[in-house]
């Protein structure tokens, strides 16, 4: 089954606006994580939210988690051109140690100066 499906696939906004990306998943999770990827580079961890948490903040990032709907959102406030990147959610399923993170398709965010 597919995990971590993001929408929208692509989002283009002006600098200073807020960007909201959504993620849905199918199985039970320990936590959900958001990563950022600049073109041609590795993924960088942004924020982790545990299954018993509903909201988490880190700087300009706000993540919500609704385990009843199996969905999460990432909000970037006051966006900057440097926020242009692909954003992926990843689910850490309830499994044994060393289990995989399963990544979604990603949202390509473009912030226009």
């Amino acid at each position: 089954s597919q995990q971590g499906e993001e929408d929208p696939q692509a989002l283009s906004i002006q600098e200073g606006e807020n960007a909201t990306m959504n993620c849905s998943y199918k199985t039970s999770i320990n936590n959900l994580q958001w990563y950022r990827q600049n073109s041609g580079r590795g993924l960088v961890h942004l924020i982790l939210i545990r299954s018993n948490e509903r909201e988490k903040h880190s700087g300009r990032l706000r993540v919500t988690l609704d385990t009843s709907k199996k969905s999460s959102s990432l909000l970037i406030t006051a966006s900057r051109a440097a926020d242009t990147a692909s954003y992926f959610c990843a689910t850490d399923a309830i499994k044994t140690s060393g289990s995989r993170l399963t990544f979604g398709e990603g949202t390509q965010l473009t912030v226009n100066p």
Partner: protein, 122 residues
Amino acid sequence: EPEVTQTPSHQVTQMGQEVILRCVPISNHLYFYWYRQILGQKVEFLVSFYNNEISEKSEIFDDQFSVERPDGSNFTLKIRSTKLEDSAMYFCASRRRSPGGQGTSSYNSPLHFGNGTRLTVT
């Protein structure tokens, strides 16, 4: 800040040849991973490794693939006989034990990725 390093950054090989992709995970991490990303597509899990053995692998990780941690610092991915469809970015990642966790669980800790090796099979 410690980081995961991968070499080479770009590898070009002919179909049927063997390639070895190398990674040096963060030194106090215990769990190691390989992922791949075909251009413009999603990041796909290949394999996870813990305590000197594979803990999980995907359907992509067939008999042509193998992993090794030969010397306690390097973590390698070998593809024995490359195919055109193996062309992709290959990412190594590691993570530590969960903070304050008991036992060997890696839950609730993030993955740290390297910058990847771009493999081109011609």
